[in-house]
Assembly symmetry: C2
Homo-oligomer: 324 residues x 2
Amino acid sequence: MATIYEVAALAGVSPATVSRVFNGLTVSEEKQRAVRDAATKLAFVPNRTARRLRKQSSELVALLIPDIENPFFTALARGVEDRAQASGFSVVLCNTDEDPAKEKRYLGIAASEQMAGVILAPASDEVDLGSIAELGRPVVAVDRTTPYPVDAVKVDNRAAGIAAATALFDQGYRRIACIAGPAGIETTEDRFLGWRQVVTARKTVTHDGYLQHANFRVDGGRAAMTALLALDTPPDAVVTTNNLMAVGALQALAAAGIAPAEFGLAVVGELPFLTFAPASVVEVRLPARHLGTTAASMLLERIAGDTTPPRTVVLRAEVKTPEL
Amino acid sequence: MATIYEVAALAGVSPATVSRVFNGLTVSEEKQRAVRDAATKLAFVPNRTARRLRKQSSELVALLIPDIENPFFTALARGVEDRAQASGFSVVLCNTDEDPAKEKRYLGIAASEQMAGVILAPASDEVDLGSIAELGRPVVAVDRTTPYPVDAVKVDNRAAGIAAATALFDQGYRRIACIAGPAGIETTEDRFLGWRQVVTARKTVTHDGYLQHANFRVDGGRAAMTALLALDTPPDAVVTTNNLMAVGALQALAAAGIAPAEFGLAVVGELPFLTFAPASVVEVRLPARHLGTTAASMLLERIAGDTTPPRTVVLRAEVKTPEL
DNA sequence: GTGAAAGCGCTAACAG
DNA sequence: CTGTTAGCGCTTTCAC
């Protein structure tokens, strides 16, 4: 791999001039051409590591997501990527696997790699932004918020939960259960509160077992739905607080031989890769990609030097009631 | 951010000793403790950029995939990640979006970032591994192969195509169509050849329109299936050569009011996030995650210094016939 | 407009 | 076992 010294020698200029050419600084037409010619001849590619060591920053942003196999987060990632690429930044995606330890590790890497900033979908509410914050590197929280004074982009989860439960109520269901995520996680907690608000206000039938806490994945939703169906007074509809759990719930329903039409289902999120039209399923769609582009925009502004106080942007979900 | 010099000063040793401590080289117990204490006191984190510039390599591997929203590739990514993490390497995921230009760009970044190696699921058959190969950095191709002499991990696509078509034949279908991916892409081409081999050998009914080329995504599969259904002699079954196109095909079937049972469907790949048990769908499951772990293992061996000639590992798909 | 020179923080000889 | 020293390749004053 050629260096600026070799290019400089071949072009008959100083290394500084080569650097200037590649950074768009003022260099005479003549030498500029000489440098470019020499560079192509040597297949010169600037060494980013050296540049970074010198400049103490890079055009790389880290995106930390808790589950790379969840379409919600991959859509979000697409959003971040699209926005970042447009500004010449590259995105490095890291899967924290809902594991605070992995998250901490990647955060450390982002810091010690001199990345320009990080967009974080926190794995838990006990994130440690200490190391990265000390460096003054911008951080934007997305989907979930953090106790730190950093920018954040989230959705109105409470409203989403309300919309989901209300839609089921409007369809005539009166025994509406809720499959929530792990206790203590903000997004799911708020969605569940939305559900509770509706069932309380509408005075629908309730039951101790109507609130199920499950892990955020397909198997969690399946187990929770199975438990619901085994109750002495089973619900006639359910709100699931994320996309994957809805898939699991539908699987359990199918396994029990219950057609979607005779059991109401509302999901906060989008059912991924749907292959049939489930007439009775309500989706409260989360703007995953938009969440990503917004977070990226905020991060890029910070990187560009914006020092206004941290902002929190709240996006709204879009209810998609079934076409009957 | 503290440097080894500050740590050295505080611990009363030389910078070299600090470096040795952090690299596990032999240092007396006593100084070792002194260094560690000083390091914690200063919240010292080694600067990877500097280390990299010096060592000309890092513990980062790049993984380039063509579609981050395709569960096949995210599963593959999980495999790579699991294996890499186990060896202390971190994975940087880049989405090439099936775009040779983006692919080239990320390849350049991987090279100029001094990444230890790259695992590439090529976006097209015209990859340019020139820059990265010149540097002698190991590359492993996964899923699809390349014209370059590098390690590769793939599946026996021909066999997968044969298995898919055969399963449909065995179920009694005699007008078996095929929805293939874009022409010229190796994986889909081989799967399609497998299908053709079967329909030819078994002398099933054929028709000019029974071979559809579509893009690799859901909408491609939907359009292709719609076209098939519009034929004067429509098929009674179809082989789709990837997962997403199968989703689209099922959507088209549903839209046409055709139940899965009266139309045979075999997919090379796995139907993601299935919410019902489609009795007549045959999945020829691709070992996505295993593909990832295998590729990562090979890459790590190369990074460790293995210089044996390039190998190509071929994994087999697993046929999952429906439980009737 | 251009060159010389001083580092960015770390590692790897080389002495001792 | 440990300190000294010389870079890795680039950017950036500071002179000219």
